[in-house]
């Protein structure tokens, strides 16, 4: 408890107020779920839910989760171990290549695969492409954690008579548990929310079903009820991760040695081991990039029409506005959670975080419902769209801001107040000023998320507004693959800074 700080800063009260306001907005989707459940009534709800169709969607979605998540864990851990802990030639390059697939939106992955293998569809295609598109979410935290592990602990295990592979399973792997749980949750939640990928490979999940319903029957009770199930599924995943992770934390004991761990010698296995990162890079980067290059060459200059430029500017504008909005909204909470932590701050922070795990389609449906029933003028306006982005990417902004605020010493705020600044001006002149680079990074992360957001944008964008993602999607739906290519290329180029940011963040967390 940090009673002293919360008492000494009279800014704590307004900050709490602001954070409560943001939390209330973040609770809107949850209220929507409760309201829908309540309003539909038990009889209608059971009639809508206990149908073979819903059961089929549940099975489909679950199959996807139980296949794609463990496969991603295997691939992510294997790659992280190879690049971080062995003498694999070119490990740094492979490390970059293992993160870069994130720059390619999942629906561009599926677009590439359907160009290469048009007849490949259904569960196998859905699982394989999901793994290729999302495994970096697992690779990144696991690689970071591997870099942070104290090599003395592995040596202690070896001195106690464990062979290298036993050391890995009994000592290294258990210490990767948090990283694996976190990464797996991120992937699981993304699989629930993904729309474009599964439409392309013709695999029905809750999200694609809701979109079908929404596009044909608009805001019908059927779509809403499935959205409730989807939200519950998502909450189930969050709870599952919490159980798997356990309450305990694995503190690093002692100061640890600054020594770098000695890399494992691969010896003759090196060629076999090189095969894994090479094949992964070829499938997750080579296929999309080669396909795009082929379509670009095929389409020539004709495909670079004015609409592409307009969509680019539109996307950039939305990304900047959304990034600004989310970062500003996250500021009070970031400051509170570091400077005046407590039970209330913790609850408010949870409100900020949970909303980002909800699938875009649920958030969008909630906003549509609110707009239609409460503020009709807001329906299909930029404001609603920005609101959706703000809710979806609020956690991204908060994570980045929180860590930069935590790095700013509170003594500076106090010194500024002693020099006659009002509490608000003192915070502005010190912490906000010093956290600015972190805020810029947080804004960039949000903006990059917006640049490739498809589902909520399709549902909420005012008519006439076309982003790179929706432009790409409309051409892909018409099977006009060459015309879709420029949009994809621009999305990838826009996303490349994301890769650099994520790598830098991971290096910083590992203390290098």
């Amino acid at each position: 408890m940090n009673v002293f700080h919360s008492r000494s800063s009279s800014i704590a009260a307004p900050a709490t107020g602001a954070a409560m306001f943001v939390s209330a907005a973040a609770l809107a989707p949850l209220c929507f779920i409760l309201w829908i459940t309540f309003q539909t009534g038990w009889a209608t709800a059971t009639a809508l839910l206990f149908r073979p169709r819903v059961g089929e969607l549940l099975v489909n979605t679950t199959l996807l989760e139980v296949l794609a998540v463990p496969l991603s864990i295997l691939l992510g851990v294997a790659l992280a171990w190879l690049t971080e802990r062995t003498d694999l030639p070119g490990a740094r390059v492979w490390s970059w290549l293992a993160v870069t697939p994130l720059a390619v939106p999942a629906f561009v992955h599926s677009y590439a695969w359907s160009s290469v293998a048009p007849s490949w569809h259904g569960l196998p295609a859905a699982v394989a492409i999901s793994v290729l598109a999302y495994f970096p979410f697992l690779y990144l935290p696991v690689a970071t954690q591997l870099r942070r592990l104290d090599p003395a602990i592995e040596e202690a295990a070896a001195a106690l008579g464990l062979a290298p592979f036993q050391v890995f399973f009994r000592v290294v792997l258990p210490q990767l548990r948090f990283a694996i749980c976190g990464g797996a949750l991120l992937i699981g939640v993304h699989l629930l929310a993904e729309y474009g990928l599964y439409v392309t490979v013709r695999y029905d999940t809750f999200t694609t079903a809701i979109m079908d319903q929404f596009q044909s029957a608009f805001n019908g009770p059927a779509a809403n009820m499935i959205a409730v199930v989807l939200a519950l599924y998502c909450i189930f995943l969050l709870a599952l991760e919490k159980i798997m992770r356990g309450a305990e934390r694995y503190a690093r004991v002692g100061s640890g040695s600054p020594r770098m761990p000695a890399p494992h010698q691969l010896g003759h296995a090196v060629w076999l081991c090189l095969l894994l990162p090479a094949a992964t890079a070829a499938l997750s980067l080579g296929i999309p990039l080669i396909t795009l290059a082929r379509w670009l060459a095929f389409g020539g200059t004709a495909i670079w029409h004015a609409a592409v430029g307009a969509a680019f500017l539109q996307t950039l504008m939305l990304a900047i506005c959304g990034g600004l909005l989310a970062t500003l909204a996250a500021m009070p909470m970031a400051w509170l959670s570091v400077r005046a932590p407590g039970r209330l701050a913790h609850i408010l922070e949870s409100c900020h975080y949970y909303v980002g795990s909800l699938p875009g389609v649920v958030v969008a449906l909630a906003l549509v419902t609110v707009a239609v029933h409460a503020f009709l003028p807001l329906y299909q306006t930029m404001a609603t769209l920005l609101m959706a982005y703000f809710l979806l990417f609020l956690p991204r902004a908060l994570v980045g801001l929180r860590s930069s605020v935590a790095q700013t010493p509170v003594e500076l705020e106090q010194a500024a107040m002693m020099l006659g600044r009002s509490p608000f001006r003192a915070v502005l002149a010190t912490t906000v000023r010093l956290a600015a680079p972190g805020a810029a990074a947080a804004m960039a992360l949000v903006g990059l998320g917006i640049a490739t957001e498809l589902t909520a944008t399709l549902m909420l964008a005012p008519s006439g507004v076309e982003t790179l993602a929706t432009g790409f999607w409309s051409y892909t739906s018409e099977l006009d693959y060459p015309r879709a290519a420029p949009y994809a290329v621009l999305m990838i180029l826009l996303s490349l800074p994301l890769i650099v940011l994520l790598q830098a963040q991971s290096k910083r967390m590992a203390g290098r």
Partner: protein, 345 residues
């Protein structure tokens, strides 16, 4: 034949030679201390013995079995050598019990063995289910020792295990570790950069310098007869003076004192330990008295420091005395020498 033998061991990292032409014999059941300034190759030597590194040249032999040489290399997990690292290196994801039992096979009496080990290192059984981060530094080191003892290793390596502890705790832990290891009859090698620890812990002390053993012997021998000035001052305060040797004596700034000249004559450098010198107030004319005067007194509670200048010597002498024996600044003093001065070869 000694228990552990290292012969002409060399290890380099890139262009940096960490260990060079190193030879060391460790007798069975002994406690050997490897001491040296940082960068002298202590840690590398320990890692070579543990099996985390392979030597570039030379051999490591234990009980007649070659652990490493040009042809063979036995990895760490097959050497059965115990290791207690600097900060314990406890497994953060396991309880105290599971840490201690980590190297034990799963058997009926596993729990009993763990409890016996805890008693052996004087750990309270209440701690059994705790996690490492809930323990104090001293407790962590005891768990690490119990964990290493569980496998009944033939050799125990201690890598500065006491350096992270506070002064009081350090001495107590060191004593209890020494006792436990002696009772278990395990040959032990301790690496440290603390000279007091080196002199009090070991039967044998090996001083490492620039990657090789400069001098090895019993603590008393090294303290009294270091081979050079560096070792002399590394192991304790030393008064080093130029002198002219005669048969069994030396003429120096302190006058004529008895010296361990071993038939050597002429110019030489001698060493005296401060505890060999005794100060008294000069009484009138005394031929044998060196002309010395107290020039500064620094009060420090139980231990005070007096600075004394000698006529004919630019280097002032530093005396650590108790407050009751402190003399006033300006007092002319007489310095007498007990025992013999050590002569550097």
């Amino acid at each position: 034949m000694s228990f552990l033998q290292l012969r002409s061991v060399r290890k380099r990292y890139g262009s940096v030679v960490a260990v060079d032409d190193l030879g060391l014999d460790v007798p069975a059941g002994s406690r050997t201390v490897i001491v040296g300034p940082s960068g002298s190759g202590k840690t590398t030597l320990l890692r070579l013995i543990a099996g985390f590194e392979a030597p570039d040249a030379g051999s490591v032999t234990m009980e007649g079995t070659v652990l490493a040489d040009e042809k063979t290399f036995l990895p760490a997990h097959r050497r059965n050598i115990g290791l207690v690292a600097q900060d314990g290196a406890l497994f953060p994801h396991l309880s105290v019990a599971d840490n201690i039992g980590f190297g034990l096979a799963h058997s009926m009496d596993r729990q009993d063995r763990i409890l016996a080990l805890m008693d052996m290192v004087e750990l309270d059984r209440i701690l059994l289910t705790r996690r490492p981060h809930e323990l104090s530094g001293g407790q962590q080191q005891r768990v690490a020792l119990a964990r290493a003892l569980a496998r009944q290793p033939r050799l125990m390596l201690l890598d500065e295990p006491f350096s992270a502890l506070d002064t009081g705790l350090r001495e107590a832990t060191r004593k209890s570790v020494a006792r436990v290891l002696t009772q278990a009859g395990i040959t032990t090698i301790l690496v440290t950069h603390d000279q007091a620890e080196a002199l009090s812990f070991g039967d044998q002390v090996a001083v490492l310098h620039a990657g090789h053993v400069k001098q090895a012997g019993s603590p008393a021998e090294l303290y009294a007869r270091p081979i050079d000035r560096e070792i002399a001052s590394f192991l304790g305060d030393a008064l080093v003076l130029p002198a002219t040797l005669g048969g069994g004596f030396a003429d120096c700034a302190l006058g004529r004192i008895s010296a361990d000249s071993m038939g050597q004559t002429g110019e030489a450098v001698i060493m005296l330990r401060p505890e060999q010198l005794k100060l008294s107030v000069a009484t009138g004319t005394n031929d044998q008295t060196s002309h010395a005067r107290v020039t500064a007194v620094e009060f420090g509670g139980a231990h005070c420091v007096m600075t004394v200048s000698l006529a004919g010597s630019k280097v002032p002498l530093i005396f650590k005395t108790s407050a009751v024996e402190t003399l006033a600044v300006g007092t002319d003093v007489h310095i007498s020498v007990a025992g013999k001065a050590h002569v550097f070869a």
